[in-house]
């Protein structure tokens, strides 16, 4: 069990023979000093360093490196030694960084001889320091303990040694740097790029490089190559703005962006590094503030502001567009609610007035009754036209907004006919959401609101291939509906495959009767499926059994708190199971497994997409009702069955179909397949 130490924390040591591992993203000098009860080091013979690597019970490496292993045998130490300080320093001179603030936080771990970590410590919050006491091993009442120190020195090794009351501090520091420089001259000029330091403890250490994928990373500091394009990294700032020893000095006390380069940059004693420096906390790589949203151009007086894409809050353009789309959705729902309630009111008022006119006996003679009726109708028409005017005004605004938002949408949010799909590249990150279709209301036919659903999916999908009274009046027969249903499902699945990074989304298909071969062809031929569509009852049972087992395993691992104990070879990507022609080929057992997957799957990344007509599975009785209810129902033709969360209007849903004759789906899937192959899945 590793104890992750924080600064100042201590931990008992189990044995005398230990190894201290050091991982830094950049070459560092590692050494150790032996001190007495008061921490005083008596002379240079109490210091192990590259020039004198071996002391009784202690050995350090001879040169600067990104990784070190220091061997320690506490039993072999002289009895006068009460404190062993493990120190790290950046090699002086040369091209490397001159301050720990410019490099990844070093990581030190104390391990037993069997390699088990006893304690580990990540030295965060370093700034201008070029030497640091990382750990100390100390004797307390006959037993040895380790303490995380993290005390840095801006003056380098000389200051560090002087602090330990070593008289020849400056001389020693000079000779160490000399030894290191000669060692460096012997060794390979620069460590290979993108060689992330060996980090035994993945959870506790910062990741090296963007996403760990090994882009072109500067050899010295993995954090330099990303971000911080700002012009003024070395602006001399007010001294003493941040204490040099303050933990997290550049970190969570506020995201610091390139635009507002802070005063920490120029500690007066900080030797100037030669490159822009990112002050973000090494473990928090997304802490940079979002670029400001696009400002709406000033509106002409009396005119509504011209809409701008991304005019909403969010940390990224994607999030802003997502929020903007939801804002449009809500505004349209509410505007329509206002219109409908005004029209309802006008209707009921006219009814009442007409009733009154009719029931008043005086109106039965002469033209009074006609006049009253006419007046009532006029009032009705006036109110309705007023309401319509307001609605038209709002809808025009939303149309204008949609016109700028729609072309700006990223692929995951965009329609298939959006040019962004022709410039499709397999993404590196999972998008926030995916577009499952369009929504509109009859009053505002011109506004199509993208229906964005957050990823990862929280519910399975049900593509209803049942006979529904389609809105345009055309009656599709059941065979046609089934074909349309599966085509829609394929388009949804292709989109999900395309918006996930390569290898992070896997699609399984159960097509028991093989009736969907034609519609499934784009998926099958491009080779993006994990396996060919499973056919027959046996095939269905096999796929279900595998997915059920996966859900079981991942659930057990998560509940047991041991997500890294999953068997090797288990595919940890998100899984989507497309079931065509349900319930053909399904027996009771398979149906139960399907229900289990629908209930338990989404939480562990297994999703269902049923292409089914509910009536056909009526033979199972009410058993399947919870299944249908747990799925998000979508239709292959326009249908008004979705309600918004604010007012509860019935919105007309339109599936996102690939424009006829377009090859965009095939092109995108070919790219996905190529990326999957290169990913090795």
């Amino acid at each position: 069990m590793t104890a992750e130490l924080t600064r100042g924390q201590n931990h008992p040591l189990p044995g005398a023979r230990l190894e201290i591992r050091v991982s830094a993203g950049t070459p560092v000098v590692a050494g150790a000093t032996l001190g007495d009860e008061n921490g005083t080091v008596h002379g240079v013979e109490g210091v192990a360093h590259p020039g004198a690597p071996t002391l009784p019970g202690l050995e350090v490496s001879r040169q600067a490196a990104a990784d070190h292993r220091l061997a320690v045998d506490l039993d072999a130490m002289p009895d006068t030694v009460h404190r062993v300080s493990v120190l790290l320093a950046l090699p002086a001179g040369g091209s490397g960084p001159a301050r720990f603030g410019a490099v990844a936080a070093p990581f030190v771990a104390v391990t037993g001889l069997d390699g088990d970590e006893v304690a580990s410590y990540t030295l965060t919050g370093l700034e201008a320091e070029s030497a640091v006491v990382a750990l100390e091993l100390y004797r307390r009442q006959g037993a040895w303990k380790v303490r995380a120190v993290g005390q840095g020195y801006a003056g380098g090794l000389a200051e560090l040694f002087a602090d330990q009351k070593l008289s020849q501090a400056h001389q020693l520091a000079g000779s160490i740097h000399e030894a290191v420089a000669s060692g460096l001259a012997r060794s390979i000029p620069a460590p290979p790029a993108a060689a992330p330091a060996h980090r035994p403890d993945h959870g506790a250490t910062p990741r090296t490089g963007p996403g760990g994928t090994g882009g072109p990373v500067a050899p010295t500091s993995p954090y330099d190559s990303q971000g911080a394009p700002g012009p003024g990294p070395q602006t001399p700032g007010a001294p003493g703005q941040h204490g040099a020893q303050q933990p997290y000095a550049g970190g969570p006390d506020g995201p610091i962006g390139p635009g507002e380069e802070p005063a920490t940059a120029g500690q007066p004693s900080a030797p100037a590094g030669g490159r822009p420096i990112d002050y973000s906390h090494p473990r928090r790589q997304t802490a940079a503030p979002p670029p400001p949203p696009p400002a709406a151009p000033p509106a002409a007086p009396g005119q509504p502001a011209r809409p701008v894409a991304g005019d909403a809050t969010g940390w990224s353009m994607e999030e802003r567009l997502y929020n903007q789309v939801w804002g449009m959705f809500e505004d349209l729902a509410r505007t329509t609610a206002a219109y409908r309630s005004a029209v309802d009111f006008a209707d009921s008022r006219m009814e009442k007035e007409l009733d009154q006119a009719l029931s008043d006996p005086r109106n039965r003679i002469g033209g009074q009754g006609d006049a009253a009726r006419e007046a009532a109708r006029g009032r009705h028409a006036q109110l309705v036209s007023q309401a319509r005017e307001v609605l038209d005004r709002d809808v025009a605004q939303l149309v204008a907004e949609a016109e700028v938002v729609e072309p700006a949408l990223p692929a995951a949010f965009a329609r298939w006919d959006n040019p962004v799909w022709h410039a499709y590249r397999v993404p590196m990150e999972i998008p926030m959401a995916v577009r499952l279709g369009d929504l509109h209301l009859p009053e505002a036919d011109r506004v199509r609101v993208p229906m964005l659903i957050r990823l990862p999916l929280e519910r399975g999908l049900w593509i209803d291939s049942g006979r529904s009274a389609s809105l345009d009046g055309s009656f599709a027969d059941s065979h046609e509906m089934r074909r349309l249903g599966l085509e829609t499902a394929v388009a949804h699945a292709a989109r999900l495959l395309a918006v996930y990074p390569a290898g992070e989304f896997t699609v399984h298909v159960i097509d028991p009767a093989g009736s969907g071969a034609q519609a499934l062809a784009p998926l099958v031929q491009s080779g993006v499926l994990a396996a060919p569509p499973a056919q027959g009852a046996a095939g269905a049972a096999d796929v279900l059994a595998r997915l059920t087992q996966r859900v079981d395993l991942v659930q057990m691992a998560l509940r047991g708190g041991a997500p890294d104990a999953l068997p090797p070879g288990l595919d940890t990507s998100q899984q989507l199971l497309i079931v065509n022609d349900f319930p053909h080929g399904f027996d009771d057992r398979a149906v139960n497994q399907l229900r289990y997957l629908a209930d338990e799957g989404p939480a562990v990344g297994v999703h269902l997409m049923m292409v089914a007509d509910r009536e056909e599975s009526a033979g199972f009785g009410p058993l399947l009702d919870p299944l249908w209810r747990s799925l998000l129902r979508l239709t292959p033709v326009a249908d008004d069955h979705l309600a918004d969360p604010w007012v509860g209007h019935a919105w007309t849903y339109e599936p996102p179909l690939v424009p006829p004759g377009s090859q965009v789906l095939q092109q995108v899937l070919a790219q996905v397949a190529a990326a999957r192959r290169s990913w090795g899945r």
Binding site: E330, R334, T335, A338, S341, A346, L383, A387, V390, W646
Partner: protein
């Protein structure tokens, strides 16, 4: 320029420069009950609630209160229920925002009410007030002091109604009794 309104006084919400108000906030503030000693959590909290009832031709069409925070059309929004009150130094503890431009055309009156949900009368509440603020520039248009009122648990504060092309506001200040706006309906109807 704040008008300390008295009962029945009406002010127009036309701005002095001729422009009409577009957005107003009805704010309600009161001082929390003083903490009792050892078992402070047993202090009898004072929970006042602000509500807005939207009328079309003297019929209630919609209501915005702590269980329905946004009117269906989105023009009237409640910022959320405060159950205990504030420091009593003039800040709003509950607020209702009205976007007058977006109010549906058939809504011609919006009545603001205050209820004591926990049942204390206004005699027991310290520093309670209700005010109307022009949301676009933060100017206070009208203020009504509740504290020191009689033994009532509710008050019909004010109404904004359509007047010509714009809106006008009338202070009402009729005391009533009731836990939520529903209990006030009989008292509201005569003031429409």
């Amino acid at each position: 320029m704040t008008v300390n309104m008295t009962k029945g006084q009406a002010i127009s919400l036309q701005k002095s420069d001729g422009g009409s108000l577009t957005s107003v906030r009805m704010g309600l503030g009161w001082q929390a009950a003083p903490r009792r000693g050892l078992f402070g959590s047993r202090t009898r909290e004072i929970d006042l609630d602000a509500s807005a009832v939207l009328f079309a031709d003297k019929q209630p069409v919609d209501v915005v209160f702590f269980r329905h925070l946004v009117s269906d059309d989105g023009s009237v929004r409640h910022t959320g229920d405060n159950l205990v009150g504030g420091v009593g130094q003039g800040g709003d503890d509950e607020a209702i925002l009205v976007d007058l431009q977006r109010v549906p055309v058939h809504i011609d009156q919006i009545v603001f009410t205050v209820n004591s949900f926990t049942g204390q009368t206004f005699q027991e509440v310290q520093n309670a007030f209700c005010r109307l603020v022009d949301e676009t520039n933060g100017q206070e248009l009208a203020r009504y002091t509740l504290a020191g009122g009689g033994a009532f648990t509710a008050q019909i504060m004010a109404k904004v109604n359509r007047a010509g092309q714009g809106w006008a506001m009338t202070a009402i200040g009729t005391p009533a009794n009731g836990r939520t706006f529903q209990d006030l309906m009989p008292a509201i109807l005569p003031v429409l």
